[in-house]
């Protein structure tokens, strides 16, 4: 899986790493049990600070997408294990839905778009 970091983007780098890893897991590019690079290796490969990678990994760990142990390194778990939409997702969805309504997108078109993305349109291209 390719991780693409846009330094000119307004999205912080740690969030770009986190989001792309989640997208990779959802699209199947990163399988459950697959090993991720160490914090040091990813920092060296991308040229970003170790703290940035560490922050991305701890967010992913907190959300249950990855686990880290001393012997096995950092491994993809495959799902967040949250079991349902948390307040974080609902808040984000509310903002996106409001933006769609303000942009004049119909409810039907918005739901179709969400369905399309959910069913496989989750690539990062």
């Amino acid at each position: 899986m390719l991780l693409s970091l846009d330094f000119s983007s307004k999205t912080p780098i740690y969030l770009q790493i986190r989001n792309q890893i989640i997208l990779g897991i959802a699209s199947g590019e990163l399988a459950a049990g697959e090993k991720l690079p160490t914090i040091r290796a990813l920092a060296e490969q991308s040229g970003v600070n170790m703290m940035t990678v560490s922050k991305a990994y701890s967010t992913l760990r907190q959300d249950g997408y990855i686990t880290t142990d001393r012997r096995g390194g950092t491994v993809v778990t495959g799902s967040s294990g949250a079991g349902g939409l948390s307040g974080h997702y609902l808040g984000a969805l509310r903002v996106i839905a409001a933006e769609a309504r303000l942009a004049g997108i119909s409810e039907e078109a918005f739901v179709d778009l969400c369905r399309g993305i959910y069913n496989g349109g989750v690539d990062n291209g």
Binding site: M1, L2, L3, D6, F7, L42, E44, G47, V48
Partner: protein
């Protein structure tokens, strides 16, 4: 060794250098990781007639400039030896830069065409990392593999220091120390490659990991070979240092072996990149981060040293302040070397200024400039045979020996003369000895007579 031999030696070194620069640069026109002359192009664009035309003209210009440089270089053979060597160094530096002017021009044209045609690839303007390839542990050489050559290069240095004749072999010691430094440099440069970004040419992680492995392996091989070749050269040079011919032959063999090995690893990496990415559409485009396709400029990247996009080389990230300083120092060094070469060349060809003025003997040529009070002279000789002399520091050309030398029968000696044109004036004072000659034997003899008259005593020896 005659002047002709030295000129031939320089030609043997310089002509292949010119050709190598052209070969290396024109090879950049062959797509590797979909990069042509520093511009990332989708597969379809690589076959475009206009792209081919730019590439064709670039190659023609590089070979044409190489031919012109070779002719200019050959014309230098008509100069005196000292001038020839210095001007050829200056010309070589110019010859390295000129083909890059054509490279930059071709790069700009290709980039403009790409923009006009809207040729884009999936990952544009971003730093791309292959997560699977990055997770692969690096197969690294142990640092101790670099230790034996460092120890070997230390032998001459240790031997001279232990025997207590370090001061007499200052030039050789400096060389030995340099070689030890090169060995240590290789040892400490090696881990740099392991900390670099891996190659990403497309979505195939296996291929990306293979490209990274090939680059790392060849980088390690090149550094290891450099340190071992350097150590062997140092040891052989130390054993054969009394023979001018053998030291010259050794230096040539060392340089050819080193350049040959570095080129072989460079082309191995280039060929692999070409083969593994042939027929694959452009995937990762970092052109915006590379000035003229040559200088990496990313202030957000904390790396100072960065892998070249193609081949096995490394460059500097000019987006960082330290990178800018590094590049400025390198440019100043090259420019300084060129200016120094020309200045020294002019100094070599300048006439000798020597005479007596106000009870003082003065002498000036090149870097040699001194005044000797006539009443301080303890011995004056006109030599028709130069005693055995070994250079400590300075110039040791067949037609010019100038600088600090160990001369049999004299202490603390500086000389400035043409070894093929006796006689020479040897002046000894309580704290130093000077052996010199003027531009012609007649002038030298005339000055000798003048000094004799001025000090009005019988010289220690006559021819």
């Amino acid at each position: 060794m005659g002047e002709a031999a030295v000129v031939i030696f320089w030609f043997v070194i310089m002509f292949p250098c010119l050709i190598l620069i052209a070969v290396l640069l024109t090879n950049e026109a062959r797509p590797k990781k979909n990069i042509v002359l520093g511009v990332t192009l989708p597969l379809l664009a690589q076959g475009d007639g206009r792209v081919r035309d730019i590439v064709r003209r670039f190659k023609r210009n590089v070979w044409l400039s190489t031919g012109v440089m070779a002719l200019l270089f050959a014309a230098l053979a008509f100069l005196s030896l000292g001038e020839f060597i210095m001007w050829s160094i200056a010309l070589l530096i110019v010859a390295v830069f000129v083909p890059y002017v054509f490279y930059v021009r071709a790069n700009r044209k290709l980039a403009a065409l790409k923009k006009a045609e809207g040729w884009r690839v999936p990952y544009t303007g971003a730093v791309v990392v292959d997560l699977k390839a990055a997770a692969e542990p690096a197969q690294a050489l142990k640092r101790r593999a670099f230790l034996p050559p460092v120890l070997i290069a230390l032998v001459p240095l240790a031997a001279a220091l232990l025997s207590g004749d370090g001061a007499e072999h200052r030039g050789g010691l400096a060389m030995s120390a340099t070689m030890v430094f090169i060995g240590l440099l290789c040892m400490f440069l090696y881990p740099l490659i392991l900390r670099q970004r891996g190659d990403v040419a497309g979505p195939d992680s296996g291929k990306n990991a293979a490209l990274t492995r090939v680059r790392r392996y060849n980088w390690g091989k090149m550094l290891l070979a450099t340190s071992y070749l350097t150590a062997i050269f140092m040891l052989a040079f130390w054993l054969l240092q009394d023979s001018a011919l053998w030291t010259l032959v050794l230096t040539a063999v060392y340089m050819f072996a080193l350049i040959g090995f570095c080129l072989s690893t460079e082309f191995t990496v280039r060929r692999t990149q070409e083969r593994l990415t042939a027929g694959e559409s452009g995937y990762v485009d970092e052109d915006d981060l590379w000035i003229w396709g040559m200088f990496y400029n990313n202030p957000n990247d904390r790396h100072l040293f960065i892998n070249d996009r193609t081949g096995s080389g490394m460059g500097v990230n000019v987006g960082r302040t330290s990178g800018k300083v590094f590049m400025a120092l390198t440019a100043a060094l090259l420019l300084g070397l060129m200016v120094l070469s020309i200045a020294v060349s002019l100094g070599f060809s300048a006439p000798v200024e020597a005479g007596i003025e106000g009870g003082t003997l003065y002498f000036e040529h090149g870097m040699e400039k001194y005044e000797i009070p006539l009443d301080g002279i303890t011995s004056l000789e006109l030599l028709y045979d130069l005693p055995s002399a070994r250079r400590v520091a300075g110039t040791g050309l067949p037609n010019l020996a100038e600088g600090r030398f160990n001369v049999e029968g004299y202490e603390n000696t500086r000389i400035s003369l043409n070894p093929n044109e006796p006689p020479y004036i040897a002046v000894v004072t309580p704290d130093m000895s000077r052996i010199f000659a003027l531009d012609t034997p007649e002038e030298t003899e005339a000055l000798y007579e003048k000094i004799l008259e001025a000090i009005a005593w019988t010289p220690t020896s006559e021819p």
